[in-house]
């Protein structure tokens, strides 16, 4: 180890390999068999359970937990996958504290919900570890569907279409499938190459051909896809990144948090990843939290999250905020960046306190400088490469019903489509529902 958290500038290997490995291990280790039984025993098997309502994919949670409790985790996994084919990833990355576990009646009763996320992982891991794929395809329909984007929405859509007997051509701009599961999730939330393994497992259904390195607008076009397929589903996510619009944004050391997270996920050796001594992350969503926490875990001495609104307004949940705080991340609320200072490379970020009046935000005039070797921008992603002629609303593809766009024969879902929260689980629900709608229109 040549560097330490106190090494100035941006440097790799601030921590030894053992510490790095421990830092980036499973955030929530899997339940073992005994732990799963104890956790499952706490479920009350509620009538018309609030957790099901809270789940964007409406997984029958009490049923799968009862199946775990009675010694059939494989059946539990089937219950989960019936609704959410990416139930394995969702078990790891869902903000359960704002979804099923928030709705759990034991949260109401004792402030300690049933550990639904970890139980879901126990069930799905059990089935996936057996290497079996529990679904078979229906008789071939002879219909062909193009799915653009092999992220959560595209994968869910492709799988459901394949189940119904359609042939699916699945395109993705990146070198691997998985989308944000592969490139955008914090390292410690999906360890051990899980995202890649999950894609491989999902494709075992058959009937899906994955074409990587194919970006819409660059290598393929909507017109071309429409010509060769009976329907098209767009699930390419948000490839663009918002600009900071602050003076000095072009200085060395200013990065997109999305790219930073992606590099981390794809790094073979974490010790080779450079990170600043003083890191400032700008933004208030999950990307900001993931970038900040991972900077700290890589060995940055000081990591600050700067968010322009109040703690209560922050999109990242209180649970995520507390996780970051527990790792030593500092939060500054009600402040916005005004300039990136430095000579060539960034040395500090100048910020200004804000005052909010309703939805509008104004600077108070009071500024302060935060030392920074590295500034990570996590202020939202934007739609890139939307096909011409498709209706856009609020910067995303407009949809009605189960993902129908303004163009006939073209559906959309996931982050690139308007409506719904930008969550893995929401994308899965949208991809699945669009697939059912496509199926109905192709067969009907």
């Amino acid at each position: 180890m040549t560097n330490s958290p106190f090494t100035p500038g941006i440097a790799p290997a601030r921590l030894d390999a053992q510490t790095l490995s421990a830092n980036f291990d499973d955030l929530h280790p899997p339940l073992d068999g005994h732990e799963a039984l104890v956790a499952a025993d706490r479920c009350y098997f509620c009538h018309d359970a609030p957790c099901i309502t809270a789940c964007p994919t409406s997984i029958d949670i009490p049923l799968f937990i009862r199946q775990i409790a009675t010694g059939t985790p494989e059946a539990a996994a089937k219950t989960i996958f019936d609704q959410n084919i990416l139930g394995g990833m969702c078990a790891r990355v869902c903000p359960t504290e704002t979804l099923c576990e928030e709705a759990c009646v034991r949260e109401t009763a004792e402030g300690k919900p049933v550990e639904i996320g970890r139980l879901q992982r126990y069930a799905t891991d059990t089935l996936m570890a057996a290497g079996v794929h529990p679904y078979a395809r229906a008789e071939p329909t002879g219909k062909r569907v193009a799915v653009v984007g092999a992220g959560p929405a595209g994968l869910a859509c492709a799988h459901r279409l394949a189940m119904h007997g359609h042939d699916v051509a699945l395109y993705d701009a990146k070198e691997k499938g998985g989308g944000l599961n592969e490139y955008g999730i914090a390292y410690y939330k999906a360890v051990g190459g899980f995202a890649e393994a999950e894609v491989d497992w999902l494709l075992k259904i058959g009937g899906i051909t994955l074409h990587t390195g194919k970006a819409l607008g660059r290598d393929i076009t909507l017109e071309g896809l429409k010509a060769e397929h009976d329907a098209v589903f767009l699930g390419m996510g948000l490839a663009g990144v918002n600009a900071l619009r602050a003076e000095g944004e072009g200085r060395a050391g200013v990065l997109d948090a999305v790219g930073f997270i992606s590099d981390l996920r794809q790094a073979g050796d974490l010790a080779k990843l450079p990170v600043g001594r003083n890191v400032v992350v700008i933004g208030g969503g999950m990307t900001a939290i993931d970038a900040a926490v991972q900077s700290k875990l890589l060995g940055a001495e000081n990591v600050t999250v700067l968010y322009r609104r109040s703690r209560e307004a922050m999109p990242a949940s209180r649970y995520e905020q507390d996780l970051a705080a527990s790792k030593g991340v500092r939060f500054i609320f009600n402040a916005m960046p005004v300039a990136v200072l430095g000579n060539g490379s960034v040395t500090a970020l100048r910020a200004e306190y804000t005052r909010s009046e309703g939805r509008s935000l104004t600077g108070t005039g009071e500024t302060f400088d935060i030392p920074a070797d590295q500034v990570l921008k996590a202020i939202g992603q934007t739609l890139e490469g939307a096909p011409e002629g498709i209706e856009i609303t609020g910067g995303k593809i407009a949809v009605t019903g189960a993902g129908r766009t303004s163009l006939p024969g073209v559906w959309a879902g996931g982050d690139c489509a308007a409506g719904g929260e930008d969550l893995t689980v929401t994308a899965v629900a949208e991809g699945r529902d669009a697939a059912e709608d496509i199926h109905a229109s192709l067969i009907g």
């Binding site: 009350y44 009538h47 359970a49 009763a109």
Partner: protein, 434 residues
């Protein structure tokens, strides 16, 4: 601190908590540890006649059922009476009684159904200085096939006969332990009393198969692919035991016959319930086998606190609930209650709704935002919602005052006691003289 000392048939013990005849009382080592832990007395594990020792199976002896979090709810066993030589047991009983004179020492016995066999063993037991004997007419497995245990306990005439032999051949108090594997517990109890028993103890274990191994298709516990019924005990059997104790306590023929209550006593509360139904002492086994001897500390502190809070002596508690045990036909049909849901305590799980809607009287409504309310015009006060609610005290039964309209029947609640014996729908109702 309430005084828990007990005088049962003249046998004194510092508290009413005795260990039942079972593995925990099979040797001096265990019994001394139990006395050190604070148990008031023991019934030494059943001795058989002199001769070659009893043989037990060499595979599993116990089967179990569990509740949530693997809490042991019921245990069954296929162990036989003591498999140690008679003289060893007798020597150890004598030594322990000498070292612990303030504790109750009862010796459980099971010998063949012949007077000579009983005549032979009784002097040896007397010689140990033990305080009394308990006749094991209960074990449902193994020994019963040899004409002992439950084979005797299921025939009232045998109970009476053997009890009489013992009373004629010893000065020690005789407790007759009853098997629940009969149709009406009052018959064996009456037989014991006729034979001169000083007390009865109950219940012994219940014939049972706890589970079936779904891979080997063998009952558990499994011995080389086969299983046999065992004796069931533990928390799950308490309701059966309480009823049988109460039946004896209120039967005119056995009223006043001292009872040592057995069957699923796990906490001080269980013990207090047995005492209130007429038991003078309680015997514990499964709880000790599950948690160890230390549980007696909670039993003593809990019972003591309860008595203090009630301002009662232990003797006031014994039998206190017996007058309130009655037959169905005497229950007051003008006692009308309705379920009440405490909305502040409700966690909206909906179990009351599912239970009532699917399996009972459709008397609970559910709103879109998961508020559950009782429909008084449908509620028959069955209590199922109370029983399935996971929050204690959230749903309660409230009595409708006399004169209030019962919305279900459309009639005001009558102010007077009225039972089935006088109900107009009862063909055998006794009409008041006109």
């Amino acid at each position: 601190m309430a005084d828990l000392s007990t005088d049962f048939l003249g046998i004194k013990s510092p508290n009413p908590f005795w260990l039942a005849s079972a593995p925990p009382t099979d040797k001096a080592y265990n019994v001394e540890r139990a006395f050190k832990a604070g148990w008031g007395g023991v019934v030494w594990k059943t001795l058989g006649e002199a001769g070659p020792p009893i043989v037990n199976v060499n595979g599993p002896r116990y089967g179990a059922i569990w509740g949530a979090d693997r809490r042991l709810l019921g245990l069954n066993n296929i162990e036989l009476i003591t498999d140690r030589p008679l003289e060893v047991n007798l020597r150890e009983i004598k030594q322990v009684k000498r070292d612990w004179p303030d504790r109750a020492m009862i010796v459980s016995l099971m010998v063949p159904c012949e007077e000579e066999a009983w005549k032979a063993i009784l002097p040896h037991v007397e010689d140990t200085g033990a305080d009394g004997i308990e006749l094991n007419f209960g074990c449902p497995h193994g020994m019963s096939e040899r004409g002992m245990g439950a084979a005797v306990g299921q025939v009232p005439e045998y109970i009476e006969m053997v009890t009489r032999w013992c009373k004629q051949n010893t000065r020690m108090p005789v407790i007759v332990k009853l098997t629940p594997n009969i149709t009406d517990i009052r018959y064996p109890a009456r037989a014991a009393k006729r034979g001169g028993a000083d007390a009865v103890s109950l219940i012994n274990t219940i014939s049972s198969i706890t589970s079936v191994n779904l891979d080997d298709f063998s009952p558990e516990p499994m011995i080389d692919g086969k299983g046999t019924h065992g004796g069931y005990c533990g928390p799950a059997v308490k309701p059966i035991a309480l009823n049988m104790v109460a039946e004896i306590a209120r039967d005119p023929e056995t009223q006043g016959l001292p009872i040592s209550g057995i069957g699923g006593v796990t906490t001080w509360r269980d013990a207090a319930e047995f005492l209130s139904l007429g038991a003078g002492t309680v015997q514990v086994c499964t709880a000790a086998m599950t948690y160890g001897f230390k549980i007696v500390e909670e039993m003593k502190s809990g019972l003591s606190q309860y008595l203090d809070e009630k301002g009662m002596a232990l003797s006031d508690l014994v039998g206190r609930a017996v007058p309130n045990v009655t037959d169905w036909q005497y229950l007051n049909l003008n006692y009308v209650t309705k379920a009440r849901i405490d909305q502040d305590a409700c966690i909206s799980c909906g179990r009351c709704f599912a239970a009532c809607e699917d399996t009972s009287h459709q008397a609970i409504s559910m709103s879109e935002d998961r508020v559950f309310e009782v429909k008084d015009d449908e509620c028959v006060a069955c209590n199922l919602c109370v029983n399935v609610c996971p929050v204690e005290g959230c749903i309660t039964m409230e009595r409708l005052e006399a004169g209030t309209m019962d919305e279900r029947t459309g009639k005001p609640v009558e102010p007077v006691y009225a039972n089935w014996t006088t109900h107009p729908n009862n063909p055998g109702a006794v009409k008041a003289a006109e």
